[in-house]
Amino acid sequence: MKLLLLLIVLFPLLGFLVNGLGRNILGKRLIAWNACLWILGSFVLSVIAFMTVREEGAQVERYFDFIKVGKLTIPFAFQVDQLSIIFLLIITGVGFLIHVYSTSYMKDENASHYGRYFSFLNLFVFSMLILVMGANYVIMFIGWEGVGLCSYLLIGYWFKNNEYNKAANKAFIMNRIGDLAFLIALFWLIAKTDTVSFNELFSPGGLKNLTSTDFTVITLLLFVGATGKSAQIPLYTWLPDAMAGPTPVSALIHAATMVTAGIYMIARSNILYSQSAITMNIVAYVGLATALLAATIALKQNDIKKVLAYSTVSQLGFMFLALGTGAYAAAVFHVMTHAFFKALLFLGSGSVIHAMGGEQDIRNMGGLRKKLPTTYFTFLIGCIAIAGIPPLSGFFSKDAILLSAYGHEKFGMVLYGIALFTAMLTAFYMFRLLFITFTGKFRGTAEQEHHLHESPPAMTIPLVILAVLSVIGGFVGIPELFMHGGDKITAFLTPVISGTGQHNVSRSTEYILMGLSTGLMIVMIIFAWFKFRNYQRTEAVGLGKVLENKWYVDELYEKIIVNPLDKVGSFFNSFFERSVVDGLVNGVGKLVHYGSRQLRLLQSGQVGSYILLMVLSMVVIFVLQFFLKK
């Protein structure tokens, strides 16, 4: 097991090194094989690890002492248990499909850039694996930083475009804000408990030194870290901009894996979170607010990837809602199903963009159904899944979340209402996207129409696999209602997660809620069908314009944060830097110059004066010694 876990992590790293160092030597075909096979190897080993975990429970393997200071010892150790194995399978499995897809999607790049792309992709998978396999918060933080770095590298992959570089910077800086909070939480934890290992912390008595204030502050800080990585209010704006990267990157980083790091971290720290009701409520409210806000923005976006990006933010909001209402297993379940259908949707949009020759504006598409049948069909499945129509995977996970919101002891009805409304919006904007893109008449140029074609098998096969997973992925979490012992995922996660799924909702209520949500989703889809099947380009006005401009949040941030910082920066540049810092540095230089000019006069060349100085200083030393002795 020790070697196995190490290999799972090392394979992508090897792929990164080989591709990164050999990108000018290896051919494109070799690079593609190299990148994919390492990830496939990782996936196979993860499956083996999954078998072991299912039979023998959690495994912790310790390799060496990473940091040893005083009472604090931080081992370099990996932990694979029920929670992290699910993430392992998602990361390596979906990651592998995305790698395969990329081999074809990126084929127009030259070999050197191709190698760079795949080495970053492998490095990303490596960081993500470190993140979920780390047996303590410090190792987790290494991966946490690693995915931040890789997202920066991949978003800015087309580094010649300055806008893309800015988007990469934005993602990196926003993440840094969250990372800082994560670090502070970490130090706080170390100061209070002298350990960061999950095993020791979460064993009985591991948290006895913490007061309720400590719990609240630590969990809140960790949550701020999670809002950065998982794109929640107020740090969500980086994710839609991160669509600057190649589409498979969006699928890998910004849908399936990286953004779920925050969910993973909170689910991992569920014992901490359960101790602080305040934090739990904040998490739930922030999650819900994000879900609603992002869903409204997605209603009016015209960039195919932007719609999906906001839908990702919105779905992440749902996951945080689940975390905040204590349904950790439901959140993890939604992470899994979301990874399937969101990767599917992103890859599908990549296929559309590929066919359109780089066009991303859905107003210029339309009627692609006949030209791209496979893409259309898989995209349709993805849309149904995310909208939450039974029996596709999204239904089960979303239903579990809605139910947990309903079970909230104080504002159950309100939370449920808003969440349901958001889910309706989700169904609406996803089908708006689908209908505008795939039905009606083609609205692009004649040249684009001529160029339209279905994507090669390397792209469609991953789509089909993901579509199948999107359909059947939900069956691991069928509610108790339909099948006794059906909710396998919750049962599987029980050893890691405390107190899940205990909602006090009666069976009849559960039936009513389920029927209600399904009915409303279907209504929304039909509504979208009538509204958008023959889409005509119109200018947005009123509220629509506000939504199209994303509630002007970016502009607001620009005004209240970026501009003042800019002002402060330019003040420091013009005043502090020029007069204080430069003055200090130049002053030191001038002082030395002047001083040496004066001291030079002592060097008269007269032997007598030297000797006189020598004697005088000796006398002074003797006198001083005489007095100082006492």
């Binding site: 060097q603 008269s604 060349g605 007269q606 032997v607 007598g608 000797i611 006189l612 004697v615």
Partner: protein, 109 residues
């Protein structure tokens, strides 16, 4: 004789040496003054060595001899130094026809 006398004598010799070095310009005289300072120290060493020996002879038969050994070292070094120094002075006289040290400030420029 009390040790004080020796101390006073060697202080007097040493001070004469210093003043000579500081005030005179003739290299040979400066040289002689340096010798004077060395010998003042020699005198002091011998005096202390003798005093120490008288006090500690019962305990240690060789007590104080190291002071006298030092004197020999200083004498040897002084002799070597004299030979080098005088050679320098001779060279100096050959070059500038003077033994005035104040002329020897060429290194400055």
């Amino acid at each position: 004789m009390p040790i004080n006398y020796y101390i006073f004598l060697s202080i007097a010799l040493f001070c004469i040496g210093i003043v000579g070095v500081l005030t005179r310009r003739n290299a040979i005289i400066i040289f002689m003054c340096i010798e004077l300072m060395l010998n003042a120290v020699n005198l002091l060493l011998v005096a202390f060595s003798k005093m120490h020996h008288l006090k500690m002879a019962a305990v240690n038969a060789t007590a104080g001899t190291d002071g006298q050994l030092f004197v020999f070292f200083i004498m040897v070094v002084a002799a070597a130094e004299v030979s080098v120094g005088l050679a320098i002075i001779v060279m100096m006289y050959r070059n500038i026809h003077s033994v005035d040290v104040n002329f020897l400030n060429r290194l400055k420029h």
